[in-house]
Symmetry: C2
Subunit: 352 residues, 2 copies
């Protein structure tokens, strides 16, 4: 089937571009002695998780136990969940995964560590726990090196846990600060007889600078597989590297300079990028998607000499691709203009 | 099961509040001689579509053929799709629906009308077509009364189509302009021997002013069933009328004034409201959700004297509830603090 024969809106993934993005990143990681542990939140597809591992990734990163369950079922054997897992229900599921595959998690509080320690009690098969460090992104994570040492000791003291190292979600464009934070934490741990085997950093925007974080042993890029307008705005590749587009149909041309497409926030997600508009229209690069309601995208054509006709199909590079993956039950893989495969987004909607 | 025993994030719908919202709206519509044709995009649940019809709605509104197929399968027999349906694949599905139930659509261009006319050819069972009018919302719709007349004549001339009337998605807070637009169009149609049997307006924000649009015969509110922060900001009811909340767990308290919950944009959607923050936390009304990444919501507690503990569950009223419904495979219905039923969101993710 040709791409243009798909019912719209639909996701089309350029297989060659996606693979090229993976290969390039793996080569960079290899060159800099970094392990790659891709975050599957972007694609949510077992086939791409397997491809990432086949290309050299040491394992994958999932954000939810439900995602890890899907990926374990698909044969992925090493999964890191960089999240505080809390509550008996989730800890039970984590334990079940721990019995099947290699799984590791994070903690940034004594409460989280206590939950792990109560559920994981086998000294012969301890749960690896990394401490999340807030190196400037101001999300989760301990705030000081002293807290790292305290928490590492608590993990180390629990028979069923193993202190594995440090994890951070780094602030964009501030890798020198990240390196300073991590290296100080590692030194403080060493002074206390503790060793960080794994130091995991992440994020696609600064991926090709990741080698400057010398303390990190692994990196967790997610968006790099598809890239999107936001990544390009952050300096990660070009629009020609973007592998993921939404095919949409022009359903209305109410005025000379307005077009409306059948892709709104339910098809493109409402995330904003540091560039104007709600997506890049490949065929009409000078047109601007000025507004999204759920089922309509409104396009300003005043800057575009070419104007699309009603019924015409266009391809859109989303602002932020990860939440878009989560909106589709299935995606189409294409070689050139031909759809070669349609696959379910197996880890879509795994909220818990 | 108690609400607080749900795994998070999870949607909890207060059944009594939802029903009260429906009853109040139906009473208003009855009082003002308006038919109600609720938009199911908000709930995407057959059970609530049936309840809306049982309470007096003349039928429902869907935005996608896929949604209409789900609702027809669930026994709903009168569905309006206020959208330009284009392309052979969708027109085939529309025809199949037309053979099963009462279905009507819109057009705002000769291209759309020509597509309907080519697919629907039975003069004994014509497809009712309404003309979409842009009364100021600047989305789809014809721009002038003259275009209405021209398009109505084209519909009227097609043996398999029936000119049914006018449809608009009105701009918020400008109902006088909407009424002026519609009444002029109706008069122009009458001069040309054409009659608008149905004049369909919509939107929840101005619903309780809808009686002022005297030309309208029916109204298509969607969000009114659950309401949300955006509706409340627009003057539609209060936070106490909001029936839909997302239950989340506090997973981190990195600093005195920061909490992080396990509900990010994948659980709350990224839509903004005309009030600060990404949702209203019922238990901590003075706390502000300042940022959402996909799996984290970051909360500023500096204005909140009470501070939540790690592991504590909180309930959040979303900014815009409709896209949130689309993120969950199932939702929980509660009477008071007790979950009485968990139902699949049957029309979720119907993109085509």
């Amino acid at each position: 089937m040709r791409i243009l024969d798909l019912e719209t809106p639909a996701v089309v993934i350029d297989r060659a571009r996606a693979k090229a993005n993976l290969v390039r990143a793996q080569a960079y990681a290899d060159e800099h002695g970094l392990k790659l542990r891709p975050h599957i939140k972007t694609h949510k597809l077992p086939m791409f998780a397997r491809l990432q591992c086949d290309l050299g990734a040491v394992g994958i990163t999932c954000q939810k136990i439900g995602e890890a369950e899907v990926m374990a079922d698909a044969g992925i054997s090493d999964i890191f969940i960089p999240y505080n897992i809390l509550g008996a229900g989730k800890l039970d599921r984590l334990l079940a995964l721990h019995r099947r595959i290699t799984i590791s998690v994070t903690a940034d509080s004594a409460v989280t560590v206590a939950g792990y320690a109560a559920h994981f009690t086998d000294p012969d098969h301890p749960l690896p726990v990394l401490i999340e460090c807030d190196t400037g992104a101001e999300r989760c994570g301990v705030q000081t090196v002293e807290e790292v040492v305290t928490l590492a000791k608590e993990i180390d003291a629990a028979p069923g846990l193993r202190f594995e190292g440090l994890m951070t979600y780094p602030p964009r464009g501030k890798l020198a600060e990240v390196e300073e934070w991590l290296s100080e934490a590692i030194a403080a741990l060493e002074k206390n007889g503790l060793r960080a085997n794994t130091v995991s950093s992440g994020g696609s925007p600064d991926f090709y600078e990741a080698g400057s974080v010398k303390s990190a042993t692994e990196h967790r890029p997610g968006t790099y597989i598809y890239s999107d307008r936001m990544q390009v705005a952050f300096g990660h590749g070009t629009l020609e590297d973007c592998a993921f587009t939404v095919l949409a149909t022009v359903v209305s041309r109410p005025t000379e300079n307005r077009a409306v497409i059948d892709a709104g926030s339910k098809a493109l997600a409402a995330d904003l990028a540091p560039v104007p508009g709600h997506g890049h229209i490949v065929e009409y690069p000078d047109a601007v998607i000025t507004g999204l309601s759920e089922e309509h995208g409104v396009i300003d054509l005043s800057g575009s000499a070419k104007k699309p006709e009603i019924g015409e199909k266009v391809r859109i590079i989303p602002n932020h691709v990860c939440p878009v993956s989560n909106l589709y039950d299935e995606v189409n893989l294409a070689d050139g203009d031909i759809v070669t495969e349609t696959v379910p987004v197996a880890a879509r909607g795994r909220l818990t």
